[in-house]
């Protein structure tokens, strides 16, 4: 018997006796007999020690970021996570609890969600935030659906500089809803092509959807985009990098109506793409159309402050087919990591992280731009930037890996016109030494062509 099952044979016998049964098999008589007990071809059971060694072996086949300088970003980021974050989310009281449906025994989780909601609002400059979405991509998809509910329109104008994968997920999510999705390209500085955006936006547009800083790294002023969208009665939905908001003007100050984002940068490791956490915030007036859970403050029968899930009738377990979304399980523990991370970083720390990213990324970008054969593209940026490479980006990455360096994101699949370009990311985790060895490696690769 597995060590996760406490009952002994004697216990089972006693229980079967209570039920008036002779065997466990008799418990399954409702199942068609010919379908019972299929043979499962699975590996044999292993002890804890063996499983641990097996998993260690698999883990060690991967090149991890503890041993390799990494310049990849493109939606997943290598940032520092203070020890306290993992310590908190490793507490069984948090990670082995369910969704806080019984508030009297869930004040821990509920309070942290309320704090998370507050800090997402503080960061984005928005009025209200929910308890989390699955990730940035699904946050974008839900923002598109929400904009349609608010405006009762079915057109979306989406920047081609919104993460390519997020745009695909948006299309997946909306394929049954008959939404009309059009893409607007980028101009010379890498920002949204305003003239084209103006042409595409119309009386049927629910939202203009952009990213800040955008997928190509460019940081653009959102105010003109908000004005273009509002002129036709459409919303402006913005997908953000929360670390950038440690330094740059929040979208709430620039006319955004819905703000979503990937929260992985706040306290979670890249973990091969998940679990991550979607941030979701909006203006107060759209509160009832917001998907997902919300926690509110109230009082108990003795007048003490407490927290509860609220606005539940918007949700699937009550509203069923008329719910604002089908989301149930979200990413509560990852949201807790983000809340702990924001608390430990605080006002000074997040700004400092953002400044470190900014200065290091610019040091790297300027260094690469000065190398023969390389060129940096586009305008103002934060921690990611596009470089044109003298040999194919695939070759560059392969040659970097030979030197133990994890290179950039190849743009060819998503942006054929940038087929000779890499998107690089530099964070506070990249030391000057690492950046210098990247520059040196790129110089050698360029020289060898």
């Amino acid at each position: 018997m597995s060590s996760y099952i406490p009952n002994t044979d004697a216990d089972r016998r006693e229980m079967l006796e209570t039920l008036g049964l002779d065997s466990l098999q008799e418990l399954f008589e409702a199942i068609p007999p010919e379908k019972r007990y299929p043979h499962l071809d699975l590996p044999p059971p292993l002890s804890e020690m063996e499983v641990k060694e097996l998993l260690r072996g698999l883990a060690e086949k991967n090149a991890d970021l503890d041993h390799h300088p990494c310049f990849l970003g493109a939606g997943a980021y290598h940032h520092f996570v203070p020890a306290v974050v993992d310590h908190i989310i490793s507490r069984g009281e948090f990670y082995t609890a369910y969704t806080p449906y019984q508030p009297e025994v869930s004040q821990g989780t509920l309070t942290t969600i309320y704090e998370f909601q507050t800090m997402v609002c503080q960061l984005t400059g928005m009025d209200v935030a929910n308890a989390s979405m699955y990730d940035g991509a699904t946050g974008v998809a839900e923002a598109g659906l929400m904009a349609a509910r608010v405006t009762r329109r079915y057109g979306l104008v989406v920047a081609s500089t919104l993460h390519p994968r997020y745009r695909q997920v948006l299309r997946t999510y909306t394929q049954g809803m008959g939404m009309d999705i059009q893409e607007v390209g980028y101009g010379e500085d890498g920002g949204v092509d305003l003239r084209q955006a103006d042409q595409l936006l119309g009386a049927g547009t629910a939202a203009l959807m952009v990213q800040y800083p955008n997928f190509l790294g460019s940081l653009e002023d959102l105010q003109p985009l908000s004005e273009l969208a509002n002129r036709v009665g459409a919303l402006l939905a913005v997908c953000v990098d929360p670390v950038a908001l440690g330094l740059f003007r929040p979208p709430g100050e620039q006319g955004a109506d819905i703000v979503v984002g990937e929260g992985q940068s706040l306290g979670s490791p890249p973990s091969y793409g998940g679990p991550y956490v979607g941030l979701f915030a909006c203006r107060q007036k759209y509160l009832r159309q917001m998907p997902g859970r919300l926690v509110g403050m109230t009082t108990d029968t003795d007048g003490r402050r407490g927290f509860v899930l609220t606005f539940q009738p918007r949700e699937q377990h009550i509203r069923r087919e008329k719910a604002t979304s089908n989301i149930c399980t979200n990413e509560a523990l990852v949201a807790l990591a983000a809340a702990t991370h924001l608390a430990i970083m605080g006002k000074q720390g997040l700004r400092q992280v953002a400044e470190l990213c900014y200065h290091k990324a610019h040091y790297a970008a300027d260094g690469i731009d000065a190398l023969p054969g390389y060129e940096r593209l586009f305008g103002q940026f934060f921690k990611e930037f596009v470089i044109r490479t003298p040999v194919s980006p695939a070759t560059v990455n392969a040659l970097l890996m030979e030197r133990g360096i994890i290179g950039g994101y190849r743009l060819e699949r998503d942006y054929p016109q940038l087929g000779d370009c890499l998107l690089l990311c530099v964070t506070e985790m990249n030391t000057k030494e690492e950046i210098d060895s990247l520059l040196e490696a790129l110089r050698e690769i360029g020289d060898s062509r």
Partner: protein
Amino acid sequence: MTEPLLFELSSPGRVGCRLPELDVPETALPEKSLRRELPLPELSEREVAQHFTRLSQLNFSVDTGFYPLGSCTMKYNPKLHEEVARFPGFAHIHPWQSESTVQGALQLMYELQEYLAEITGLPGVSLQPVAGAHGELTGMLIVRAYHLEHGDEGRTVVLVPDSAHGTNPATASMCGYEVVTVSSDPRGNTDVGELGRLMDETVAGLMLTNPNTLGLFEEHILQVTEIVHEAGGLIYCDGANMNALLGIASTGELGTDVLHLNLHKTFSTPHGGGGPGAGATAVTEELTPFLPTPVAARREERESTAALTEYYLDYERPHSIGPVSGFYGNFGVMVKAYAYLRSLGERGLREVSENAVLNANYLLEQLKGYYHLPYDRPCLHECVFSGKAQANLGVHTVDIAKRLIDLGFHPPTVYFPLIVDEALMIEPTETESLETLDAFVTAMRQIAREAESEPELVRGAPRTTPVTRLDEATAARKPNLKWQG
């Protein structure tokens, strides 16, 4: 006790984390793009650690007690899994790394897909959905894509039994379908007669939970699937209750076309206070082309193409519904489910379901003289009682739930399924001992007695918690959703 909020603990100038000095030359910051203020709290590490630790102590959890929350499968979460998922080779790898540098991760994903296919009897598996409802969305978009691929555009309706989880109708609706409800019969099965009448060429499929939310196995399952298939529909199975059937019956063999699994229920990965989960979705051979991109794949014949890696991500899927999340799914959760399956094997899985079902039937038997049992037949992994006898005494299910808290237990799921008045849905799981079950039975019997003799005691519960019952009406009427100082 109450714990102050971070914002109340904050004090200007405190720093929680020291970062390294800048080691490169500074670049001028673009002044007009900078934010003027960043209103985050300011705390030292000591305060942050203490604050969140104290908050954790206000929670009930599986690690601290019995959590028989029906339909949620609150089983024990093995500690080994937390450790292995944090190995740097898993936690510190980037999703865009080249395949050659993440062969261990891809192998794990590929093998997990294979194991889940074996367990469900459905050969195509996507690990990309990150929650149960997300798996439902994936599955129903696959159903939709299948019909459209066959030029069958007239199927606009999805049938959902009245006992279903709310996510089922919400999902069908998100896929653009009209939802039509099918009733349950007096034994708690889908009403086969009504199903036959509703099933026609406008119906895309039936979303079925089996065992259903009453904890009952669908007795006419083969007839149900036949009716739906004959009319050209597909069977979507909500696998939330798969803890009842591991190694006992394979869903694919029972006629299911699409199934989602909740790795965070059935396969022991922790619920995290509401996530992260993982909603792996399994489909028949015929539906495999529609799975989300990419899926983890293995090259069988590598001799001729030695440059290629053994494991890879397959993006070449022209019929795919497209990706459903940012990357490949909740990889960290997959690591835990993989470890669980390698610990258990075939025999271990069967023992899970046998013990889960035995525990549930034991509770059913021990409580049935004390609470009304609306469907009196053996259950599978959970049992559903009605508190309506107590309600007639003025003690409602919510009161019973709150009184259980005072007696040291997490309440069952209450007021669900909707077809049972004053429902109490109890799922003990296999990881609870006979002693725990007996203690719970004693508490439930005590409450049944108290409902008669001391109803005020029950109605006033809980009294032992950090807060008593909260004013939810004011929370909704005068929303306070963030701290405003």
